[in-house]
Amino acid sequence: MNHSISLTVNGARRDFVLDDPRVTLLDLLRERLHLTGTKKGCDRGQCGACTILVDGKRINSCLALAISHDGADILTIEGVARGDQLHPVQAAFIAHDGFQCGFCTPGQVMSAIGMMNEAQAGNDPERIRECMSGNLCRCGAYAGIVDAVLEAQGQMDETNQRRSA
């Protein structure tokens, strides 16, 4: 039996007919939309390389069935920059060498954006490390990742202060 679903992906509405209910959001993004920035690492919810935002919350797209997410609003790494202007988290990862091979980076960036939305860690490096523990980096770029997130968090705090001033 075929199932129809609609998703908003990086601001654009997309309709799909699924002839197999086993398709995950990760495979849908990569195979049907060719949005290959979202990476398939472990495919079992352990590494975080597949992190995307669904309705503003970071999730592991490898453990989410597409069929169960009809109507969801999805943001992937391809949707975070504005044209040539990088998202502050992306720019901070470059400034602080928050990667080596780069495979985990889209997941790290999406997770950091999700974490800042959650507003639980603030600018405490220990809380940032804890809140980012769902994203593994086998090159071990963790020190640069934490520095990047700290800088991006600081920029966001400044922007918010300017807005409220």
């Binding site: 039996m1 919350k57 970071r58 169960s68």
Partner: protein, 351 residues
Amino acid sequence: MKRFDYVRPANVTEAVAAAARPGAVYLAAGTNLLDLMKGNISRPDRLVDFTHLEGLDAIERLADGSVRIGALVSNADLAHDADFARSYPAVAEALLSGASAQLRNVATVGGNLLQRTRCAYFYDTASRCNKREAGTGCDAREGENRTHAVFGWSESCIATNPSDFCVPLLALDAIVEIEGRNGRREIALEALHRLPGDTPERDTALEPGDLIVAVRLPPAARGFAGHARYLKVRERTSYAFAVVSAAAALRIDNGRIAEARLALGGVAAKPWRARAAEDVLKGVAPTADAFQEAAWRALTDAKPSGDNAFKIELARRIVVRALTLAAAGTPARLPALPASPFASTSGAIHA
């Protein structure tokens, strides 16, 4: 992954009917189920997706002082609910010590209760496992079993229940509301999970079609808010299952323990209540000696199931330390590393 039929029932009654059929299972967030399906450990014929049903995702304060948590409330939403975390701090700390932020954002209350063991032999389909496939044997019994059960195990199965959430819930006398083929009923959380005996393939007391719709904490559970902690030893600081954990909650009046609650995690096929330890703490001052005595009582009946005798001594020390932390008072804000004995702000000296 085996192919399955996917159904979206219109209401709870339809959901129960659909899930009561052989080979059917409920789908909530799927964070545990899809992992098991990808590994061919679970091979359901039909998924009954009830995530769109109304009325299952609320945190309600009831008039009698209870709290009722809908089965579809996410682990993160519950832990970050300010009033809930203030009233039941050990539950919030346990939730935030489990899994990763990505998983907690979707994993549900009901799903957390029903997550399956993390025994490596259960996960490895080339191994014999009575829980995965009844009657095949248990390769954990003579295998790598340093993290396995020290309470309530049998020759058929020495697996442990991996939930953090269930440990403080059990200490606080949580009640599980179930919708089944014969209507609504409720059972104590303590009666939800089963010990393995000769039938380890059955994790819980649930019958075909049974749907957990809510978890309730009774009015008395709020009385421990000032002195409640969860402590969890794991093999890395974050994003790991418990080797041993403990939830400790005290009600202290005039320098004496009016009532103590204690439960252990990672030690049995179910979260483990330590009532004998609670009894020796009643009416005494919260001293190191009293906590040592409680820890001995809590582990009296523990028995290694393999290369895991160390867990018994580890559990004693975690009990003492969790009680010490609870007696010192719930911190105003959860520590940066929830439930970690290595957190720089844990506030406890070595037990």
